[in-house]
């Protein structure tokens, strides 16, 4: 076991433990911060998987953007009674059952029955992934790239219209 694997296990343990913490905590704000920890260590896993650009993107968009938005949404949907914001659980049995069954079936397949030998190849990854992604975005993935812009535009307009103050309907 070399040090790369050790770091991978470290990040993986942080990811899974903080995700489990989201499942078990009742405080919604604690859940949000645990999710931040989880995203951080997922970024570390991306970097260990030779995808450093995706790792940095994860930090930028998830940790810096989506979580900020989540905290805003949290603060917009709280009652101001000065107590900690807690949530309740429902469907506990079916949820835990489904998650456990899903996890055990898939991990059984991955560890014992699936054969990934065909994927093992001695092909080398591109030397500079950022440049590779840039060239591909401008050539092979040009249409998805522009459609992503349109999707973001539609999401912005839709969200702004939905969350707008409608005074005449409130009264």
């Amino acid at each position: 076991m070399n040090w790369m694997t050790t770091i991978f296990y470290f990040f993986g343990a942080i990811t899974v433990l903080s995700a489990l913490g989201i499942l078990f905590t009742r405080n919604v704000l604690h859940a949000t911060f645990l999710l931040m920890l989880s995203f951080f260590s997922v970024a570390g896993i991306y970097v260990l998987g030779n995808a450093s650009f995706i790792g940095v993107t994860q930090l930028l968009i998830y940790v810096g953007g989506i979580l900020i938005l989540m905290v805003f949404g949290l603060m917009l949907t709280t009652k101001l009674n000065g107590k900690a914001l807690v949530t309740e659980n429902h469907n506990r049995l079916i949820g835990v059952l489904l998650g456990t069954v899903f996890f055990s079936i898939l991990s059984y397949i991955i560890i014992f029955s699936a054969n990934f030998e065909m994927l093992k190849s001695n092909k080398t990854l591109p030397e500079n992934a950022v440049e590779f992604i840039g060239i591909n975005l401008m050539s092979n993935y040009l249409i998805p790239f522009e459609i992503a812009a349109i999707l973001l535009l539609v999401a912005l307009i839709g969200a702004a219209v939905i969350s707008e103050k409608r005074k005449e309907k409130q009264e």
Partner: protein, 100 residues
């Protein structure tokens, strides 16, 4: 040596935890957190598979997944905020009428 199985185990752990969170939590924000966890699990899988791919299609695909997740979170949170302003609750099972 980090093998593909390592990535896949992390991916399915995140996915199943996210699935359980979506099912058992009452607060709508926590349901959204569960969805983000599931998307992250899928992304970890993509990154794991793209470690063997000289075209790194998995990385580019997960880049688009992150962008779509951003759009999804934006719209979903806007809906949650609207529902809160209308029904004065953010629990997912309390608003029972569709007519606004």
């Amino acid at each position: 040596m980090i093998t593909l199985q390592h990535f896949l185990i992390i991916g399915i752990s995140l996915f199943s935890i996210g699935l359980t969170t979506v099912i058992i939590k009452k607060n709508a924000i926590l349901v959204l957190l569960g969805i983000e966890l599931m998307l992250n699990g899928a992304n970890v899988n993509l990154i794991g598979f793209s470690t063997n791919d000289p075209q790194i299609q998995g990385q580019i695909f997960s880049l688009f997944v992150i962008v779509v997740a951003a759009a999804e979170a934006v719209v979903a949170l806007a809906i949650v905020v609207r529902v809160y302003q209308y029904f004065n609750t953010s629990n997912v099972d309390e608003p029972k009428e569709l007519k606004g």
